[in-house]
């Protein structure tokens, strides 16, 4: 099926190209129309066959493996490529289903690492079940729950003395069985191949405790060493239990898009152009701007289709975000991967009290939905929903800091501990100088900006990469600086007009806070908290 799915895209592109070309040809070449159509059809058919053949080859040559250290993908027909994504560095795992994939039951798994839009290991296409299994296994292993961790789980269960003895023999056993047939690669699979080794999904129903993974691993009798079957890891990696916390109603999404700046601009534009056409009788302006209008329509449609039915759920694997109208995506963001959080509100959304919450991961530039750098965790939500989401993405946010967060969303001035720009900055920023402020929370640095377009940004202390201050000549006269916290993931929250002396103290304190937070930061394998 994979070749068919891949070839379909290629064929569609070729058909489109062929159609464009044939318009010219039809106009110029004095051939019978039937012959031209036949020729074009023949070329397209040939192209489909060629791309099918190529896709088939590409699929034949593609194989992946999930080891306890990394996900490995080998691909390429002429130029072979082996990509290894280290499990500890995984930023998110996404299961995506294009429209055809939903019809035929296929899905792609994207393992996203830090380091740019290209830092994605894409397993396309797997059967739906296999994709789920791969997702679960990758997350389970990345969390630190895997074959090698059986002993750890046993220790957790309080079998210290026995487990110590067992550990040696069992890990030897595990190594032997996993490393047996396929050498050091673990289980080698061919995507979508029926009956691939490991029989994905087949063993998943067994040994799954009702409470999910930890139970499953301890449920497997760790005290009696026995040869572990090759598909063991899959049995250890059931889908982690999850609890849905947010669902976006279609009506609200439509409403939010109607109140979006782009829609308003679009409507004003259409009214203006049509009015211009009616009054002057010249419609050139309408035709001239049709592509720009289509662009806006495309943006709004893209938002609608990609954020349709957004659901956010909590699971031990992290946050699960599912969304999509035609093409669905289910993204899992493990704990501690959020680099920065931004909450926005435009002037029109204020009427409805809506906010948009986005998170930045360390992978820059993922997504073709316009939000190139960020993931909209909460495409549109109320203040209360924002608060819930904030508690999820910033687990260390204290309940008593809620008032400060609200002041960050809607407040201004120095209430709730916010530090706004000094009064002398009102000359250069008459509108927002009381809005532009920062506040140091226990877990993160919060920056508040904008009076008309409100924005609230959080940078967790342990995620701060570096800090910067800059100052132009006018700033210097006013003894203010622009402060910025650099985060991974491409955005750097910036706050203008901070009092110079305050900024000096903030730089020093923030560097120290970031240092302290990094020291106590949780382990990268988030299920290993129990490890001494």
């Amino acid at each position: 099926m994979t070749p068919l799915l891949t070839a379909w895209k290629m064929a569609a592109a070729l058909v489109a190209i062929a159609l464009f070309q044939s318009f010219d040809d039809l106009a110029r070449i004095p051939l019978p129309v039937l012959a031209v159509i036949g020729l074009v059809a023949g070329v397209i058919l040939l192209a489909i066959l060629v791309s099918l053949g190529y896709s088939y080859l590409a699929w034949r040559r593609m194989e992946y493996a999930i080891t306890s250290e990394a996900v490995v993908l080998r691909s390429g027909v002429l130029f072979r490529r082996e990509r290894v994504a280290r499990l500890t560095r995984i930023q998110a795992v996404e299961v995506g289903q294009p429209i055809l994939g939903r019809i035929f039951g296929f899905a792609a798994v994207k393992v996203e690492s830090a380091g740019g839009a290209d830092a994605v290991l894409s397993l396309a296409y797997l059967t739906q079940d296999e994709a789920q299994a791969v997702r679960n296994e990758v997350l389970a292993r990345a969390a630190g729950v895997d074959v090698d961790d059986l002993d750890l789980a046993a220790i957790d269960a309080g079998q210290d003395s026995v487990a110590d003895v067992v550990r040696a023999s069992e890990s030897a056993d595990a190594a032997a069985s996993v490393g047996g047939p396929d050498a050091e690669d673990g289980v080698v699979n061919r995507p979508g191949a029926p009956g691939a080794s490991g029989a994905p999904g087949a063993g998943r129903d067994g040994a799954v405790g009702p409470d999910g993974r930890p139970d499953a691993s301890t449920g497997l009798d760790a005290t009696t060493p026995r040869p572990l079957p090759a598909g063991l890891a899959r049995r250890l990696a059931p889908e982690a239990p999850e609890h849905q916390v947010f669902q976006l109603a279609p009506g609200r999404l439509v409403g939010s898009l109607l109140l979006h700046g782009a829609t308003v601009v679009l409507l004003l534009w259409i009214v203006g152009v049509v009015g211009f056409g009616v009054f002057t009788g010249s419609w050139e302006a309408l035709f001239g701007s049709i592509f720009a209008l289509l662009g806006v329509v495309g943006f709004v449609w893209g938002r609608f289709s990609s954020e349709f039915n957004t659901r956010v759920a909590v699971s031990p694997d992290g946050l699960r975000v599912r969304a999509g109208l035609l093409e669905t995506k289910a993204k899992t963001i493990p704990p501690g991967r959020v680099q920065a959080v931004a909450v926005h509100q435009g002037p029109l959304w204020r009427l409805a009290g809506w906010w948009r919450l986005r998170v930045t991961l360390a992978n820059v530039g993922i997504g073709s939905d316009g939000d190139a750098l960020t993931d909209a965790l909460l495409p549109v939500g109320t203040r209360e929903e924002v608060a819930v989401m904030l508690r999820l993405v910033l687990p260390d946010l204290h309940a008593e800091e809620y008032d400060a967060v609200v002041a960050g969303l809607v407040g201004s001035g120095d209430a709730e501990g916010w530090v706004p720009a000094p009064r002398r900055a009102r000359w250069v920023d008459p509108l927002a100088w009381r809005r532009n402020a920062f506040r140091v929370l226990g877990a993160a640095l919060a920056l508040r900006r904008g009076r008309i377009w409100r924005e609230l940004t959080f940078v967790p202390h342990e995620r701060t990469q570096s800090l910067g201050v800059s100052q132009g000549p006018i700033d210097r006269r006013l003894r203010v600086v622009t402060f910025s916290a650099h985060t991974s993931g491409g955005i750097s929250p910036t706050l203008p007009h901070v009092d110079a002396a305050v900024a000096a103290a903030l730089m020093a304190d923030q560097a120290e806070r970031a240092r302290a937070a990094r020291r106590v930061a949780g382990p990268e394998q988030w299920m290993r908290h129990a490890e001494p």
């Binding site: 500890t88 560095r89 930023q91 830090a114 680099q339 360390a362 820059v364 342990e462 995620r463 701060t464 990469q465 570096s466 800090l467 910067g468 201050v469 800059s470 100052q471 132009g472 000549p473 210097r476 006269r477 600086v481 910025s484 650099h486 985060t487 991974s488 993931g489 491409g490 955005i491 750097s492 110079a500 002396a501 900024a503 000096a504 103290a505 730089m507 020093a508 560097a511 970031a514 240092r515 990094r518 930061a521 990268e524």
Partner: protein, 192 residues
């Protein structure tokens, strides 16, 4: 483009000084402790004065062509066309005045846990990079800077917006800094 506040202040700055140079923020506002560009207890090191030469040569190479073209045209046509080479010459003079100030304004400091890099005279900026956040370090030099025996060290964190570049380091100092940064980065390595 001249700033009355920074003009006299930076001319009070001592000229090219040997390394290491104990100093204050260029622009020398004496608000120590409250000036974010001059944190307390920081010993700044300046970059090699040879960077002035490198930058001036580069600028001259870029401006030579428009200058010569303008000169030729002026000689041919005369009159108001003389404004063109004169404008280029004035620009060159301004560059020649600006570059030494800019180079003097560059400074870096190695603290216990982080590296500070500052730059700029009129538009100042300062970056604080914790060693543990460093992803990789670049040491680069072009043909001209190599001939002058200087190199540029650039620190990269996981954030694309971290702009921590120290140009114009003596080759030996660049190597030392790179080694030290790598060593410190390893010992205080943190995840993303």
């Amino acid at each position: 483009m001249t700033d009355p506040a920074s003009g006299p202040a930076s001319s009070a700055q001592p000229g090219p000084a040997p390394l290491p140079e104990p100093g204050h923020a260029v622009g020398g506002e004496s608000t120590s402790g409250t000036d974010p560009f001059a944190p307390d207890g920081v010993t700044w090191r300046s970059v090699s004065p040879r960077l002035v030469r490198a930058r001036l040569v580069t600028a001259a190479a870029w401006l030579a062509l428009p200058f010569v073209a303008g000169l030729v045209l002026a000689i041919v046509f005369g009159g108001w066309v003389w404004a063109a080479p004169l404008a280029v010459a004035a620009f060159m003079a301004w560059i020649a005045w600006l570059v030494p100030r800019q180079v003097r304004a560059y400074g870096y400091a190695e603290r216990a846990d982080d590296l500070l890099v500052r730059k700029g005279v009129l538009f100042r900026s300062l970056v604080v990079v914790p060693y543990g956040r460093m992803q990789f370090t670049d040491v680069s030099s072009g043909p001209l800077t190599r001939a002058l025996g200087i190199a540029e060290v650039q620190l990269h964190t996981a954030s694309a917006s971290t702009d921590a570049t120290v140009p114009g380091l003596e080759a030996a100092e660049a190597a030392r800094l790179k080694d030290r940064l790598t060593q410190l980065g390893e010992s205080s390595l943190a995840g993303l």
